[in-house]
Symmetry: D2
């Protein structure tokens, strides 16, 4: 948290049918529905998250990610980063408080990979869902499906990941936790963190701009990943791959698709990061093992199914 | 245990190089080396098994299974079953005590699928490995690799699984725990048990006789299956599929290959069976889900890589 | 299964208030309510059990166990065992079919420890709860609380455990899986099994007859034991001890009390048994470790809180 | 990380016999021995830690903690915090680089609770033990005992926890993650964090200064906590309590004693914290549940066995 950016705060995902999408994000992944707005957007979150929402579903003609937002420490930080983004060369759009239900003002900018990002300092704090702040129980009894704990990160595909790296590290204070490097020494994947997590945002180099690979949600245990796999089958949900482990970050994972074709991940574990840690490097000849630690080979779908 | 057959007692596996095979069965799977004989065969077992050995490795020109043996209650049962096998139409070969180190006399016969099976009543009882019989600790400290607990079952491919079904159920007292049935009502896979386990032996219909699909070893937990997957990668072992769950038996599993091309499974969990349980039926249109519950589709290799 | 006794089939437990008891057995332990009868008895079972019920709650003035029943293979076995029980010296009572809802005729006898036991061959088979017998899913989605899989065994305290040992082993075909032995070589605890489980019934020597220590229910994993402990706290249920491991059987366990003071156990894991296995012996000087493997000392309550 | 303090960096523990202590910290907990110095001190660390060491064992006449050190971002931060500590009223001692093998210069001060703390910016970076920084495997194969991943935090008992709270929050940039509050609103326990962990240091109010309750080491899973309990028994190590869950932080834990009487904890899980999170409050009437979530009552030993 070198520049006051704390964590991923929300992601707005385009879906073809909101009610179908709710069966996925709410009933299957187990996010909690928190609100709807007059645009028909639905707000959800994982039960451990203290802010009002972290996932926004917007009905649209094509799937994908509208934007991802990061929460910063306070208004002063927001103001400072606004200036820093402009100085870096970004066009910054101001979005007034309340445009997202319960969220303070946001500043939005487009990264060199073509993805829209936002920063904000204030969001209504409803507290963890189902447990109080005084003598809290270990978990709430009424969770559904995979019982996801929180929105964790996104993996995005885009072209200019080098400039995006500069933006996230120099302006926003992220660290490079892990990377994939080709024989010429070029970074083809970068996993960036702003706190102790193995990644808060990740980018893979890809000829097109602004592609969405997946949004990821945190589970507590490897047994939860198994249960997730079971639920994917029981609900006839389209699976991508898993349960397995990643080489990158060493998280334990399963991938599957929402009814609109957006990929979701649920995972647990994974390495931790401190600012003095050297980045971990995977060489591109070991890319299969880097992505899928057990199979040690990529499935084509993982590289090409993007929204 | 309707006819006095208790459990799978041993399997003799052909390997191209015994020392290479030991890296697989002893160092990776974690079986304990118990003995070698003057034919160069190596004897191993899982640490929870009380008899001296359950896996015999024999160096040969081609991989596969020589035979699988079942332990029966006592000599009277052995004598009775000898007669019953002959009455069923089997040729029964007598193998004297000591031909396998520490094993009593065996009677051997060939099932209609072409596989050789044996029955025996006596084997040297060395006790669980690494823990005593008085005030025993929970587990021994010096286990290696996947720390497999026991040899559990084999899956075999062969042609006449119907007659083999008759042999195992009517003569040997096995129950049909699970089956896969085609639209005409023919059984194309049968999982047979002689006690509470989901299967002690399984057969899949296949045009050739006497093919070996895998030998399976029991682990304690789903976390052990993850560790097994990790060890498969760390040792550059050829993986087939997993970690995943089966639909059939609902066990949690991972498959991989020994250096000779024989498939191994390690798994945990799985349904239990009592003699009054109706068999579970999977329909062949759901074969993918029956085999790999999460992916819901077969990989070609699982059906065709046989030894 | 040497004499045709297959498994524990049911236990009838006395409770002071049936509706309060249902919060415990149904909502907390997660048994499924299957029926009620005109005596006000409530019938429940774990979801993996194929027979209609395994637990019967009867409202009464004092808690405890009315009787425990074992299912046998068929009517012939039942008839044979009737004669064998009489020959052993038991008075055998005949209870007509239908006295327990959906259960065939039962024969009841009192063991030398003063506990009533029953044998029966028929019970309505409703199948596993929530999953079918064709292409079955891994588990049903609507389970409650601890999601107990099955009624597993009882531990009973009584005086003449030696004669009861003779009854269970010689007449009913049970094996001694584990025992606790005092310095004079007397057995002070005996864990008896009739199949592969570490125990189907256990007895501890105690000056009074006919005391009930606990009924035990099977969970799948150590993580389920943790969840059970969490639920015990969340519901303000009286806990005895756990989560921990037993030395005896090495099962992983937690104990707690129903509102009437009857002790319940939920557990997972545990050693397996075959008829040729030597019994495991714990010496009474290691009784603390035998019962609670981690603490290695008994709490007074475990020895004295009986119903 | 508001003031540049990153994480707990080391703890120096007094033990009565270093070789006996190594059986505990190295062979049982599974820390890796990294070095010894000419004072006879032994340096260890958990395998995931990138710095050279995190635990120092010093042979002495009585057990306890000599000091705990925190790593800061860089020399500028160290200089700044030196000034801030003096301004707060601390006497600050300078300890030259190399006094601890491989550690840069440290500044040491005594908190109002009487405990000695240190800050340092540089320590030899040997990397994670047993895995490289390029294409790293999931874990090293040669870990011992409990395979502890890292030194995580200390819990200390002392008198003036209010002034110590001021010191850690205002000067060092820690957040209050959780607290126990008495009916008059006084904080009697405070769990402080400087990053995402539920606690990096914790204090409980106690009449004496400078008492050491425990040093804690991080495990990966609840199954590792079970294994830890098993190993405690197998090695006849003195146990305090567990496996269980805490109410505070909701971590899953087991406590035991080193041969000198210092308490150790190994744990997994636990809530996460961000700087905008409200502190969690436990009321002192629920202290039993706050400390031991399942038993809901304290054992006297937990409150009084201090070094």
């Amino acid at each position: 948290m070198k520049k006051g950016v704390m964590r991923p705060g929300h992601v707005q995902i385009r879906v073809l049918d909101v009610e179908e999408a709710l069966k996925h994000y709410r009933d299957l992944i187990g996010l909690v529905e928190m609100d709807r707005d007059d645009q028909g957007r639905v707000y959800l979150k994982g039960w451990t998250e203290v802010d009002k929402f972290s996932v926004v579903l917007r009905e649209a003609d094509k799937p994908g990610m509208d934007f991802m937002g990061f929460k910063v420490l306070n208004e002063e930080v927001l103001e400072q980063l606004h200036g820093d983004l402009v100085a870096f060369g970004c066009e910054v759009e101001q979005i007034p408080a309340g445009e997202l239900s319960g969220c303070g003002r946001r500043i939005r900018f487009v990264a060199p990979t073509g993805h829209a990002f936002e920063l904000f300092a204030e969001k209504e704090r409803t507290g963890k869902w189902g447990v109080g702040n005084v003598n809290p129980e270990a978990w709430p009894m009424d969770l559904k499906g995979m019982r996801a704990q929180r929105f964790d990160h996104c993996l995005l595909y885009g072209d200019d990941i080098d400039a995006t790296y500069e933006l996230f590290t120099r302006v926003l204070g992220f660290d490079l936790a892990e990377q994939v490097v080709d024989p010429e020494g070029n970074r083809v994947a970068q996993f960036l963190t702003v706190s102790m997590k193995a990644h808060d945002i990740a980018f893979i180099k890809h000829p097109e701009k602004d592609k969405f690979h997946h949004a990821s949600f945190y589970l507590e245990t490897w047994e939860d990943v198994l249960r997730a796999g079971d639920l994917i089958s029981m609900t006839d949900t389209s699976i991508d791959i898993g349960p397995t482990r990643h080489g990158l970050t060493h998280g334990k994972t399963i991938y599957f698709f929402d009814p609109s074709g957006n990929r979701s991940e649920v995972f647990c574990g994974g390495d931790y990061h401190y600012p003095d840690h050297e980045p971990v490097t995977w060489t591109v000849d070991q890319l299969g093992k880097a992505i899928f630690y057990h199979d040690r080979q990529l499935n084509e779908r993982f590289l090409t199914a993007l929204t």
